[in-house]
Amino acid sequence: MASFHGTRINPDKFHRSQLKFYLFLIPLASFMAMPIIYIIFHAFKPIDELFAYPPRFFVQKPTFQNFIDLVNNTNATGVPMSRYLFNSIVITVAVVLLTVLISTMAGYVLSKKQFKLKKTMFEINTLALMFVPAAVAIPRYLLIDEVGLLDTFWAHIFPLLAMPVGLFLVKQFIDQIPNELIEAAQIDGASDYRIFLQIIIPLVKPAIATIAILSFQMVWNNAETSTLYVDNENLKTFAFYMSTLAVQSEGNTVAGQGMAAAAALIMFIPNLIIFMILQSKVMNTMAHSGIK
């Protein structure tokens, strides 16, 4: 009893008692990182190493050939890789910006305004956290057809804008901003729009960063829209293009493998970089992610 000093949550520096955690965490993290490291090495392997026997994990003679092939490659219908990448970037930027804006707007009102249906609206949103897009793929398809979005650029953007998790997190975060701050601004004669732009936005930056990451991951990795809602090859995304590279039925598996590996790396790296830059803000937001 006397020897037990309790957990040292969030310690400042290394202590011998932490060794046991490292002993467990480091092997596990290495195991989890393996496929990721593999993606990185694989992308730089020359063709003979990609198909080497016995297979090698690490690359021995790294080359950029896979990337060069990928850039020069056009698919069967003559659409170059850059077109897919361009589509992906435009769609991603649009979705992330709009999602952040509309979720923050709705979050502000749901947190700080009084009106009828407020509670109900937020409750429906919380229920929608459980929404699984795959479960309603068919009615969604019919609906997108019905509103005329089928086979358009907008089909990539509109269906992803409402992100229940995003609204949920930002509303919880805004709940902590003291009401007095907003009241003071109102007394000074600031309009709602001004309060939103000059008080709310600067104060909820962590939550904004979090939504940005989550929606980025969702839209950047999304190949489904291109598969289900878009026929025009010119309007499809990089995530979709990637899924076609290593498909066995195209008969081009040997050349495809290297390009698929390079494409996988291009898919993964932006996720990683953005998360690395913004991770401390994410943690800040998550601390307030309680369901109330």
Binding site: N125, L129, A134, A162
Partner: protein, 296 residues
Amino acid sequence: MANNKQHLSTTVFLAPYYIMFFTFIILPVAAAVALSFTYFNAIEMPTFIGLANYVNVITQDGVFMRYVLPNTLTFAFIVGPGGYILSFLLAWMLAQISKVPRTILALIIYSPSMTAGIAMAVVWKIIFSGDQVGYLNNMLITLGVILEPIQFLQSPEHLMTIMILVTLWGSMGVGFLAMLSGVLNINKEIYEAGYIDGISNRFQEIIYITIPSMKPQMLFGAVMAVVGTFQAGAIGVELSGANPTPQYSGQLMVNHLEDFGFIRYEMGYAAAISVLLLLFIYLFSKIAWRLFGEKD
């Protein structure tokens, strides 16, 4: 007058989100419920057939009862609680070490959930590839454990295990991040009070202090785990490269739904399955709510 302005801005702020929310989330769910009572082949107009689809799912659909439902439940009961407990344990352990190594390790552990299913399927396919060039096969042959390569992704015995493994590996997502910051943000004074009240080991500490103090994050993590589990359905098809999966061994509700909806065009029937899927998720989330929700 000022009041009117307030109402106007409230509407302006809410409208964009809720218009999108209503159109692309609420309406499809409502439409799925409506379609589930019809026969609809995507060409002719839907015809109302009452509960027939549901009755068929339960009484006529041998595949659903023999494979899909047991598979889904097995998968959900292992991956759901497994991933959940794993994320809590990892979050708790990460909270015990200092900031810089914690950030690095947390990033590594979170990174699998950032990657697209497709990118991952490419990697796992190579690792579990059925010929001797597959990494796992090659390793086992070299070690002398097996003599002939195993068809990991095509054999009914192994597919489910691999699906569970891959999904668990990628399950440290948003819920994990929430739990990690939950553990880190517990007030230290609560612990001190606990020691005075006679808590004498780490296990008691976790049960009596840590978990109760981060209930909201635990609940959020639980809901995300439930959704993640049922959403992960596509992994079997991606790994084996076929829908239906070999001998239905990895067939989950999502795959069954796609099989009927997009391959056989029995949209009404597929809609009934999707309604069942949403009910499942709702049911399991309710259980999570019971376990971790605030007692009113």
